[in-house]
Point group: C2
DNA sequence: CCCGCAACATGACAATTGTCAAGTTCGCGC
DNA sequence: GCGCGAACTTGACAATTGTCATGTTGCGGG
């Protein structure tokens, strides 16, 4: 991909899109571009944050390692997503690790640049808060899902988020492999398989890495229904 | 409690404690004080945020109502905690509702005050980001717990967080009632009861609203152990 | 003081999920 | 093309958790 095309993607990110043009230019001119191979580490939990990151291409996961070695996936980002905003400005350790789950292009904006710019124009602070709030919100939504929905319902919501429309039928590509989807939804791959087969009853068919949803409204009803009322299947 | 004592508590909050004195004065002089009864709503999900909140006394819970009416507790705050930072500055709807779970004193700092102050001094933005980051971090920790620990282990961590020391024994008061603890930990009250009885095996005794931990290190080992390796109880 | 209600504990049962094992499919390097 | 390995599926079994029912306790209002 051309450098210009990458800059265009970066400009669409939540972090940059509401900033005055001159600041965007400054940030882009100081940014560092890097490519990562599948499986490569972008940063590690406990490491000091020194930059904000913007995904230009590919997929990146944020995860935490538990003391026992199990990993809990916190979020998955792709083209146009930024992350690390809140940490970068405070010189504190990352609470999570980041790893490329496919080959990736990632742009890094060194935090000192941000900080100096922020001191001249508080508008930057607002942009960063906007991006941070969006992450906060998505974490809250995940918490709600984990606490109040069954596995199959979480899978249903995940599929619904991949659809553009909100009624009718739909054919979506699963964005990354099922092991990662399972991790993102807080379950084992085996449970994800079972969840998929359970969703057949509400018009979902899985083929390779494609999902065909015959009735989006029906699926949404299922996702939002009380877990208890589906006892008769 | 005297007004002065309340101001002293507010100054210790994550939001205010690193701010230059003059700004703290400005904010405090514009703040609104309110008392809430147990069960009273402080704000509702979807409502537009107009202030940052600081708990001066009592306990406040943040929660989300699912479409089916179940509630998922996101966080619980008490004296000296601030919340709503990221939302207040953006004039967006709250992603959660807030309710007093005991009688409460809460201070509200209207967001216009914050915004105008922020435009003069970017330092304010940093303070707000600091507070927001702390919340982000605690949500990430909760996600990890829900995804990678059993119910009993989450209860163990909850108890450990109530202890000051990190070894020896300890007698802590449960800060709020067990229904709320269960909600905060993502389980039903019945499951919390069972988790408590399971913890007897690692030296925890529950008496009314008191927990006696005979060996903190042992309990921590249990909380961090692999769920699978405790099969023989 | 007594009543009634809400919180809490406990047991039985069903549903869900993790674990283990076995088999299938798919993609990639040789 | 062949074969290896990782991803994925499926089944059986055990552990966990939610649900429902029942009983106890403690507290506040009449």
């Amino acid at each position: 991909m051309s450098h210009e095309a990458q800059k265009a993607i970066a400009r669409q990110s939540l972090l940059l899109r509401s900033l005055p043009e001159q600041h965007v230019e400054t940030l882009l001119s100081h940014a560092i571009w890097r490519q990562y191979d599948r499986g490569e580490t972008i940063f590690l939990q406990e490491e000091k944050a020194q930059a904000i990151h913007v995904v230009l291409e590919g997929w990146v996961k944020l995860f935490r390692m538990t003391p026992t070695g199990a990993e809990a996936v916190v979020s998955v980002f792709t083209r146009g997503d930024s992350f690390g905003e809140a940490v970068a400005l405070r010189n504190v350790p990352y609470p999570v690790s980041a790893e490329a789950v496919s080959a990736c292009d990632v742009m890094h904006i060194p935090s000192p640049i941000l900080i100096s710019l922020m001191k001249e124009d508080p508008e930057i602070g607002i942009s960063i808060l906007a991006a941070t709030f969006t992450h906060l919100h998505s974490l809250v939504a995940q918490l709600e899902q984990l606490k109040a929905q069954t596995g199959a319902q979480r899978v249903a919501e995940f599929l619904l988020n991949l659809c553009d429309s909100d009624a009718g039928s739909c054919d979506v590509a699963l964005p990354y492999d099922k092991m990662l989807i399972a991790g993102r939804l807080g379950m084992k791959p085996e449970s994800l398989s079972r969840a998929f087969s359970r969703l057949k009853a509400v018009g979902v068919k899985i083929n390779r890495n494609h999902a065909v949803i015959s009735d989006i409204a029906l699926l949404r009803d299922y996702a939002e229904s009380d877990p208890a009322e589906n006892w008769g299947r």
